[in-house]
Structure formats: structure tokens, C-alpha cells
């Protein structure tokens, strides 16, 4: 991989001198750091980039052509980003989808569907955690328009259980991090990563957030940077969605379908054919839409069906992607 002389000076300052921070940024912005490297320094940079290249990792610097514009306009962008995977995704329009690690099943399913639809128009930016992040990944992974930003070095996998998932993202999408190889996670690095999620994206969709969720930090940074904030609505009193509702109260866009987001950016979504339910299944779906979350026995009782017939029909609806099972044998419509 060829780096321009300017890029090399930034890599020297950020990676070799360890100034991938505000001080380094000020130096680069002020032009102090952009100077000619002498032979010794040049060699160090080449050795470092060659080592990374061998492992399939590239560096995007603040002065690179494809450094995301949205991030450059943020108040505290990193000088360099380490990346692995499809570099061209950096230039596309980006939208962030995040959610708490504890996300109710319906929100996960719904988030996955939204992510899949949105990824046709945007590159989806998210983390690598369970719950909301995993839902966003699951939706966008098929198309490959996906950037996952890590709070640790690219070679570290946190949570370790997502190692296989990370491999898949490397294959189809892009993984970014501002930390050098081998850096573990720290409390602050999650917050710092959340600023990247917000900085990279035109908008942030929050799938689930408790009152103290990290997803709210991402949303907060998005507001700082002047980006749009979207949130799923929740029932009053559901703790996993209290943060989402608070965002909506404060003026975030309420999202019930992908078009709610796309219309903000002037994109007309394609009419897609819904697999529709007929007969018994249709009746059940109708009831679910009216009642919200319903226990299978209560549903069977209300519609005058046998309970196991209702289970079968609900299972069919679930397979068609029209309903979702949450805990305790309860179902809700999507």
C-alpha cells in the first residue's frame, strides 16, 4: 500500500510518536506536524505500515482522501484510523444503528429488519456488542454494507464470543478502530468509540436504551456534532426503552419503519411486498396489532382457538417475519 508523504508524517506523529489525540490533531491542523521526515523516521513508518499490511490492516489518516468527511467535521476526530476489510465503504453515506446490550427480542428482530432495509441506502455503522449492535450487524451483514467500530485494537475481539461474527464482518464489511494492535478495552474507550460512531454517521438510530445506556452517549455525541437522532418508541414503564422514550421526548425522530428515516434524507423507499397472512393467521395478526404483546393462551382464549393451534399459527407468523416471540410465551406483531 502506498502512503503519500503527508500521510506518512501523520502516521509518524500518531502511531510512532503515540500522538493519536487532541494534541496531535492540533499539530496536524496547525501544520506543525506536517514536515519532511528524515531517513530514519521514514524507515520506521515503512516498517510499521508493512507490518500492518502483512496482517491485512490499513491506516486512514486525517489527511487521506478517503478520510470520512463527516468525521473530519466533528470536533475531535482521531488522526488515524486502523481498518480491515472493504475500505471503499468509508466513502459511502453512513448511518449508525446502536442499542443496549439488553434489548428485548422484538426490538432485536425489528432492528434487524430495519438494518437490512437501511443498508440498501446507507452503510450501517455500529459496534460489536450483543443486543442492539448484533441486531444491526445481522441485518446489514448479508449485503455487506457494514462498518463495525471497535473500542480496542483490531486484533482484539470484545466480547470474545463474537469472534466468529467478527470474522464474517472482516470478510463482507469493514472494521475500524483508532487504537493500535493489541490494545485492550478500557472504561473510557467505549465512550471514545461512541464518539466515532456518531462522528462517522449522518444520523444515529437507537434501538434500545435504558436510562444509563451507552447508546445514549452515542446519541448525545450525535447531537453535539449536529447529526440526526432516531429512536424506537417503547411502552411506558419498560426500563429497556426508557432512554429511547426520553430521546423522543427531547425531539428525536420516532421510528416505526425504515421510511421514517429515509424520508429525512429525501430517499423514497421502494414499495416492498409484505408476505400477508390470511385466514386464522390474519385474524391473529390483527389481534396482535390491536393488543400489543399478548400471551398465547390469552390470545387463544380471545379468538376461541385451541391453544396449540394458536401456537402453530403464531409460529408460522414468526417464520414469515410478521410476529415475534418475546419471553414467557408472549408474542407481538412486527
Amino acid at each position: 500500500m502506498n502512503y503519500t508523504p503527508e500521510e506518512k508524517t501523520v502516521i509518524y506523529a500518531a502511531a510512532v510518536k503515540g500522538m493519536n489525540n487532541r494534541a496531535g490533531l492540533a499539530a496536524v491542523r496547525g501544520g506543525d506536524a506536517v514536515r519532511h521526515l528524515d531517513g530514519e523516521e521514514e524507515k520506521e513508518v515503512s516498517a510499521y505500515t508493512a507490518m500492518l499490511e502483512k496482517r491485512g490492516i490499513f491506516i486512514v489518516t486525517f489527511l487521506s482522501d478517503d478520510y470520512p468527511e463527516s468525521l473530519r467535521n466533528a470536533s475531535d476526530p482521531p488522526l488515524i484510523l486502523y481498518g480491515a476489510g472493504r475500505r471503499e465503504l468509508l466513502k459511502r453515506r453512513k448511518l449508525c444503528i446502536v442499542g443496549s446490550r439488553i434489548t428485548p427480542p422484538w426490538a432485536e428482530k425489528f432492528g434487524k429488519t430495519l438494518s437490512a432495509e437501511l443498508s440498501e441506502h446507507f452503510t450501517i455503522v455500529t459496534g460489536l456488542a450483543e443486543g442492539g449492535d448484533a441486531a444491526a450487524i445481522a441485518g446489514a451483514l448479508a449485503g455487506g454494507n457494514l462498518i463495525s467500530v471497535l473500542p480496542c485494537g483490531i486484533d482484539v475481539c470484545y466480547p470474545a464470543a463474537h469472534t466468529a461474527l467478527k470474522e464474517k464482518i472482516l470478510e463482507k464489511g469493514l472494521i475500524l478502530s483508532e487504537y493500535p494492535l493489541g490494545t485492550g478495552t478500557a472504561k473510557f474507550s467505549f465512550h471514545a468509540r461512541n464518539r466515532l460512531l456518531a462522528g462517522l454517521s449522518e444520523g444515529v438510530l437507537v434501538l434500545s436504551a435504558g436510562v444509563r445506556s451507552g447508546a445514549l452517549i452515542t446519541a448525545g455525541r450525535a447531537l453535539d456534532y449536529g447529526r440526526d437522532v432516531f429512536a424506537l418508541p417503547y411502552n411506558a414503564g419498560v426500563s429497556q426503552g426508557a432512554g429511547c422514550n426520553a430521546l423522543i421526548k427531547a425531539g428525536a425522530y420516532l421510528v416505526t419503519e425504515a421510511a421514517d428515516i429515509l424520508s429525512v434524507y429525501g430517499i423514497v423507499s421502494k414499495e416492498k411486498e409484505e408476505p400477508e397472512a390470511e385466514g386464522e393467521e390474519g385474524r391473529i395478526l390483527q389481534y396482535l396489532r390491536e393488543q400489543g404483546e399478548v400471551h398465547v393462551a390469552a390470545l387463544a382464549e380471545a379468538l376461541g382457538m385451541r391453544i396449540f393451534e394458536a401456537s402453530a399459527a403464531l409460529s408460522a407468523l414468526e417464520l414469515k417475519g410478521l410476529a415475534v416471540k418475546s419471553g414467557g410465551n408472549k408474542y407481538s406483531a412486527l
Binding site: P159, V296, A312, A316, E318, L319, G327, G328
Partner: protein
């Protein structure tokens, strides 16, 4: 004079004939035992001496040799006491005129001369009968156990003097009366589905599980009645046949856990605690290889409460018996095969705090904790559990549906019908239930309509299910169709089966 008496030793579930020979010679008084007796058999010397004395009989003060044949078989336990005593009496000419030929003597002696019960009497009687022996003298305390064995003269005796009185013809013991086997005669438990509040989904899963012989796993918050449901399993299972009851009784007899009624007339329900060791679960032991919990659950239910709390190695050991329906235990003393065709029923909480997935209570576990908790159950074991069902913590007092107040008998009726269909289907093969079907049988008996097949294919793609999960779902669907008396598996049967795969969904 030499006397020869027949006794029996146990080897696994089989009885092995042992001849006890006694020789009383003139000479310096001594008392020798040869023929590979173990410590418990050697100790019988003193028991027999005291028992004879305290029964008013004479212990011969001569040179005594007792021999056990065949000499290469290790003799264990105290069941030889009575045979030794009778052989001594015979050899010292205290049983003049008594006919002891072809009588099998079994029993342990107390110092007073009373006869104590022995473990494993029924398997011994069954083996001896097949060897051609028809007359037995057994401990009176074991009488109930022997009552169901037809075609033999069995004399229960409670003391050595009764045996002598019987043999010399002074006070003959009346032979044991045969008893008719009635399944479930001694209903001990109070478990019945009519006492289970609500739980419509789990109830149905339970019915399917029993109908098709599937294993099941219940997941739900603490205090939702998982154990209560599991206890109802034996009550909806088909009644025991006499042959099954005998087989189960044999195992329980060998293990020494047979109750007072003498025969197991109800399907066993075993609940080993989660601290159980692998040996206690699968069977084993130093000298005598005892059957483990899985063999004691043969023909019934093995209930593992709080599945993730069991030791991993113990759970993994269950995998092979779950497939084969028996377990072979190999020890230095030989290898023994015990039957272990049981239905596995397990329960677990959805997460360490128990509230994961609950709508009204908040789960305080981190995703990593939940993962660690679930990872305790290995994929291969989970794979062998066809039905995974959620038990919820809501009671439905106001539900009017009759389905939630049915009693066990009503469910058992439907189960019996489904089992009858399966018996016809698997006639002439070694398979009994749908759960035991292999790939070949699935292709033969689980034909889907073309339309149904297409729906399935789409569904599986959407749910990202593995091929193995697919086979499990089809087997359960077959059982649901049987309960519905439907020749063909309809899409609705498959859909219902899919709803019982809790841990397959991604």
C-alpha cells in the same frame, strides 16, 4: 458326609448358580471356606455358627470344609448364609430324610437365626427358573417381590428353624400365593395434571413429549411450577406392561431400592440432585457394579432440575445412554450392561437471575453471564432434547378453556392412542417411538406434501436452522400429527413443532 446345596450369585442383572458343598470330617475341629469367597461370604462363618446355636441346632465340632463351585467366580454378599447353614446341617446329618435336591436356598442369617432379606432376589428367581429350578426357599421379607413369578414353588421363611421344620416335614411352610399384576395399583404420588395451574404451552409440550418418547427441557423463572409439571410426566405415560414392570423391578431389586410392594407398578421418576457424581448417575462401584440413576429411571423419567448446575462431565456421560437405551459399565471385575431407556426431562432458569425474557421483571444479568450459564449445557446434549419449552410465570385463573384443567387420565388416553399408531408403524423393527427414528425412518414415515416441504424450506432459511435441528423438528411434527390422528404431516404440525425449539433460534 458331603452335602450339596444350590444357591445363586448375581452378575449384573443375571443370576449365576453356585453350588455350596459342605464336608464334615472327623479330625481336629476347624472351619475352612474355599472357592473364591469375598470377605462378606467368609464372615458368614460366625453368623452361621451363632444362628445354628440360637436355633437349637448343633454346630458340628469337626473338621469342616465349605466349597463354592464354580471356583473361578468371585462370590460376594451375604445371600449364601442360608445355603451354608443348610449344607452344614445336611452334612452333619441333622436333616435326616429331608429332600434338599434342586431347592434353591437364598437368605442372609442373623445371629438369632432369623433370615434377613437379600438384594436382587427377583432377577435371581427369574434366572433360576430359566435354568430349570422350580423350588425356592427365600427370606419372608422378600416375599412380595416373588409373588408375581408364576410357575414356581416358593416358600418364604423368616427363620432358620422354620426352614428346618419345613425340610424335615414337621411344619411345612405354605407356598407363596401368586398375585395378579395391576399397573399403578400402588399409586403413591399425588401428582396429577389437574393440580397444575395454567401452563397451557408446557402442558401441551409434555403431552407431545410423552406421546413420542421425546426428551424435553423446560426453561423458566424460579417458582413457575417446572418441577410440578415434571412430576406429572409418569402419570400421563402409558401404563406398565407386566414384562416392563418385571424388567424395572429387576433393576430396582439389584440396586436394593425396591419398595414394600415388591414390584414396581408405576413408572419410575428419579430426581438425582445436581451434586450427583458420574458414577451415581451411570452406575458403577468397586466390587459390585450397582445400576445408576439412569438405569433406575429405565421405563420412566429422569428429571434433572437446574440442568446447568450439574457437572459437565456427568451430563456428557448421559449422551451415549440417551442414544443406545442402555449403559455398559466396565470394571476390573467384568463389564455389565444395564438397561437405561428413560425419558430425560430437564429444567433450567433462562439466566442466572431467572428473569431474562420476563416482561414484568428486569433481568440483572450481563450478556456474558447469560452466555456462560447456557454454555454449561453442551450442544450435543441439547441436540438430543427434542422439545424445549418456555414455562411462564403467569397464572391464568380466569381462563375458561378446558385445556388447562384436564387431568392426567384424559391426556394419557390421547398418549395411548398416539403410541398405538407408532406401534403399528414400527412393527417388526427395534424402534418403539418417533423419537428413536433415524434418517432412514424419517424419509420413510415423515413424508411432507410438496407445498408443506416448500413452506418448510423457506422457513428454515429464514430461521437459519441447522440440518440436525430440522430432523428433530420433523420428528416432533410426526408425533404432533399422530396426536392429531393425521396420516400426513401438515404444515401446521411443523409450525407447532418449530415453536418448541427455544434454543435453535438465532
Amino acid at each position: 458326609m458331603i452335602a450339596k446345596i444350590i444357591c445363586y450369585a448375581l452378575s449384573g442383572l443375571e443370576g449365576v448358580p453356585v453350588e455350596v458343598e459342605a464336608d464334615v470330617n472327623k479330625g481336629v475341629p476347624s472351619y475352612e471356606m474355599v472357592g473364591l469367597p469375598d470377605t462378606a461370604v467368609k464372615e458368614s462363618k460366625e453368623r452361621v455358627r451363632s444362628a445354628l446355636k440360637n436355633s437349637g441346632l448343633l454346630f458340628p465340632m469337626n473338621r469342616i470344609t465349605i466349597n463354592f463351585a464354580p471356583a473361578d467366580l468371585k462370590k460376594e454378599g451375604a445371600a449364601f448364609d442360608l445355603a451354608i447353614a443348610v449344607s452344614l446341617l445336611k452334612a452333619s446329618e441333622q436333616l435326616l430324610g429331608a429332600d434338599v435336591k434342586d431347592i434353591v436356598f437364598l437368605g442372609e442369617l442373623a445371629l438369632t437365626g432369623d433370615i434377613r432379606p437379600v438384594a436382587g432376589l427377583l432377577p435371581i428367581l427369574i434366572s433360576a427358573k430359566s435354568h430349570g429350578y422350580t423350588r425356592f426357599i427365600i427370606p419372608a421379607a422378600n416375599a412380595e417381590e416373588a409373588r408375581y413369578l408364576g410357575g414356581a414353588e416358593i416358600y418364604p421363611a423368616s427363620s432358620l428353624s422354620e426352614v428346618v421344620g419345613h425340610l424335615v416335614g414337621m411344619r411345612p411352610i405354605p407356598p407363596l400365593e401368586l398375585k395378579e399384576f395391576v399397573p399403578g395399583r400402588h399409586k403413591t404420588g399425588t401428582a396429577d395434571l389437574k393440580y397444575v395451574k395454567g401452563q397451557p404451552v408446557a402442558r401441551r409440550a409434555l403431552e407431545i413429549a410423552v406421546a413420542g418418547g421425546h426428551n424435553m427441557l423446560m426453561s423458566g423463572p424460579p417458582g413457575t411450577g417446572k418441577t410440578m409439571l415434571a412430576r406429572c410426566l409418569p402419570t400421563v405415560m402409558p401404563d406398565l406392561s407386566f414384562e416392563e414392570a418385571l424388567e424395572i423391578t429387576k433393576i430396582h431389586s439389584v440396586a436394593g431400592v425396591l419398595g414394600e410392594e415388591g414390584i414396581v407398578s408405576e413408572r419410575p421418576f428419579r430426581t438425582p440432585h445436581h451434586t450427583a457424581t458420574t458414577v451415581s448417575m451411570c452406575g458403577g462401584g468397586n466390587r459390585i457394579v450397582h445400576p445408576g440413576e439412569i438405569s433406575l429411571a429405565h421405563g420412566g423419567v429422569l428429571f434433572l432440575d437446574e440442568l446447568p448446575e450439574y457437572k459437565r462431565s456427568t451430563l456428557e456421560a448421559l449422551r451415549q445412554p440417551l442414544e443406545d437405551g442402555c449403559i455398559t459399565i466396565s470394571r476390573a471385575g467384568g463389564s455389565f450392561t444395564y438397561p437405561a431407556r428413560f425419558m430425560l426431562c430437564a429444567s433450567m432458569n433462562p439466566c442466572p437471575c431467572g428473569n431474562y425474557g420476563s416482561a414484568d421483571r428486569v433481568c440483572t444479568c450481563t450478556p456474558a453471564e447469560i452466555r456462560r450459564y447456557r454454555r454449561k449445557i453442551s450442544g450435543p446434549l441439547l441436540d438430543r432434547i427434542d422439545l424445549q419449552v418456555e414455562v411462564d410465570n403467569i397464572t391464568y385463573d380466569d381462563l375458561t378453556s378446558s385445556e388447562v384443567r384436564e387431568d392426567s387420565a384424559a391426556v394419557q388416553k390421547r398418549v395411548n392412542e398416539a403410541r398405538r399408531i407408532q406401534r403399528v408403524r414400527f412393527e417388526g423393527s427395534s424402534i418403539h417411538t418417533n423419537a428413536e427414528m433415524g434418517e432412514k425412518e424419517i424419509q420413510e414415515f415423515c413424508v411432507l406434501t410438496r407445498e408443506g416441504d416448500k413452506i418448510l424450506r423457506d422457513a428454515f432459511e429464514r430461521m437459519e436452522l441447522s440440518a440436525r435441528a430440522r430432523a428433530r423438528i420433523i420428528k416432533v411434527a410426526r408425533t404432533i400429527a399422530d396426536l392429531d390422528s393425521s396420516e400426513q404431516i401438515m404444515p401446521k404440525h411443523v409450525f407447532e413443532a418449530v415453536s418448541y425449539r427455544l434454543f435453535d433460534k438465532v
